[in-house]
């Protein structure tokens, strides 16, 4: 890449000149051509917001494919409905506010897709539309659009649905069944019936749960892609998952009969999806490295508390939303020391 950029102009300079510009003019005549005036730096890296958003969508593809495999074509339709609703809402709100259209940055697509991946596979389509609308309208546009939102839009949309329609939001279907037999999620069955789900099923995703949260394998593939591309801060999934594992094993060691083991904690519910795709949402998480650690640890502790002691079987969404709320404070108190500030006495 670098090599190529360097060589092209070098080659050009050796070629016969095509109309050497302006050399004939006497030096006192002003140069007529309007050059570009802009602030330094005059060169930029090849990064782009839209490119990052596209990468997130690619990273979500394995999860989406596994979701469709387990929950059928309805899952695909759900995704399309969710994305369409999110994009349309964004377009409409830009129109109403007379703001420049922003759907091309791809963030609405990501929000719509992420939202659907966190919904139960039997949720009515109109509820998906409500969720997408709330996610984009309240979660994003009311704060001024992409970049200014405090809470993760997709999770906010989901929290709204959860509060509005608790029953459809907790109705799960068996994977790979044609007539959608209802079942329980691994976390639910542990919490209310004290039964453990086999680890392999947890890992592959052949369990009840949201469209995109069941297969840890697919999520890890996509998540590692994001980490590799540096579009997600590795500190957050690492600290989040580690905290859950450590904090979870603490209780497991105290009373293995009452509390699940850490592996179950890690691979059940929406933790993987949350850790790799929700908690790493750049906008709503701290910008400082130290802040990222705090974010992950805080979310992990909240999650374990909700899972073990709360009324709900799952708390990934709430743990991330709560840490989103703390993010401004974290950013504020984890400002890196200025260069020279620390060492100088």
């Amino acid at each position: 890449m670098e090599e190529k950029i360097q060589k092209v102009p070098a080659g050009e300079s050796q070629m016969p000149k095509v109309a050497p510009a302006k050399t004939s003019e006497s030096p006192s005549k002003p140069e007529k051509r309007a050059f570009i005036l802009s602030s330094s730096p005059h060169i930029q890296a090849e990064e782009d917001v839209a490119k990052i958003m596209r990468a997130v969508v690619y990273a979500l593809l394995p999860t989406a494919v596994f979701g469709i495999y387990f929950f059928g074509w309805r899952a695909l339709v759900m995704m399309l409905v969710g994305i369409a609703a999110a994009v349309l809402t964004e377009a409409l709100l830009n129109l109403v506010q007379k703001k420049p259209q922003t759907i091309s940055d791809g963030s609405a697509v990501v929000t719509g897709l992420l939202l659907v991946l966190t919904l139960p596979p039997s949720l009515p389509y109109w509820m998906i539309i409500v969720g997408a609308f709330v996610a984009i309208f309240i979660g994003k546009q009311l704060f001024g659009g992409l970049g200014y939102n405090i809470f993760n839009p997709a999770l906010l949309g989901r929290a709204f649905l959860q509060a509005s329609f608790p029953i459809p939001m907790t109705t799960w279907t068996m994977p790979r069944t044609i007539d959608a037999i209802t079942t329980a999620t691994p976390l639910g069955s542990f919490k209310f019936e004290k039964t453990l789900t086999p680890y392999l099923n947890l890992f592959m995703g052949n369990v009840g749960g949201c469209v995109g949260e069941t297969s840890a394998l697919a999520i890890i593939i996509g998540g590692l892609f994001l980490l590799y591309k540096k579009y997600a801060d590795w500190r957050i999934p690492v600290s989040y998952l580690t905290t859950v594992a450590i904090f979870g094993s603490l209780f497991w060691l105290i009373n293995p009969a009452k509390y699940p083991d850490p592996i179950f904690h890690l691979f059940s519910g929406g933790l993987m999806l949350g850790a790799f795709f929700m908690a790493t949402d750049m906008v709503t998480t701290p910008v400082t490295p130290k802040g990222s650690w705090i974010f992950g640890i805080g979310a992990g502790i909240i999650l374990v508390i909700i899972r073990l002691f709360g009324g709900l079987p799952e708390g990934v969404m709430y743990s991330i939303l709560l840490m989103n709320a703390f993010t401004p404070l974290i950013n504020r108190y984890t400002r890196p020391k200025f260069f020279g500030e620390a060492k100088h006495v």
Binding site: A34, L37, S39
Partner: protein, 271 residues
Amino acid sequence: MNTALLYSILSMGGIGLLFSILIALANKKLHVEEDPRIGQISELLPNANCGACGFAGCANFAEALVGGKADLSSCPVTGNDAREVIARILGVDVATGERQVAVVFCRGGDGIVARQAEYRGVATCSAAQIVGGGERACSYGCIGLGDCVVACPFDAIHMNPERIPVVDRAKCTGCGKCVTACPRGVIELHPISHHVFVMCKNEDNPKVSRSVCKHACLACMICERAVNGQGFKVVNNLARVDHAVYTKELVLPTEKCPTKCIVIVGTADEH
């Protein structure tokens, strides 16, 4: 029932008495001196201590007002009458002398002034000023990105189609926000009775300024000669008006100026 009545009177009266004595005592013992205006203003405030102003209650808000740290408009509860009185106590509303209005000293709009470059970056004048001065070739005149329009709290400055700001003299309060907003110092405050201005700031060599702008002052001295030096003077390649001499009736130089940079602003009956 009678006992209940008796007890209630006794207990409430007792509590009330106890605390009022305590407060009265405390008020005497624990008194702290304060700016008398704070007391006066807090009298006028609603004293609902609702906190809508962002301060910890009306007394605190009054203190901030006196200290100049708060704006009266941030209290949504105070009625307009009370506001006037408070403003008077604060001495904010003291008008002195003649009304001043903003005047824009540049006519070098798009198509008039030469274009030196294509500007890319933050679309404000102050930002363009630090990047080679933006699109327009004149380094003295209006940059045209409208910092003054944004700065005006009274909606009194607007861009004309040539992207030169125009002041609505009826709406302008002479607050001077646009003057500080302009990175080039193109806007000045002048008494509303002044009508004639040389609308140019270019102090360059006439040869340079001529090549840059059609409405630049060329220091040609025509105006100065037309009035025999009484009211116009060319200093540093730029003609200047002596407002003490000339306030109205400047038809002669305005007509004679070859680049039309001497302009009559406003009308005689506006003030």
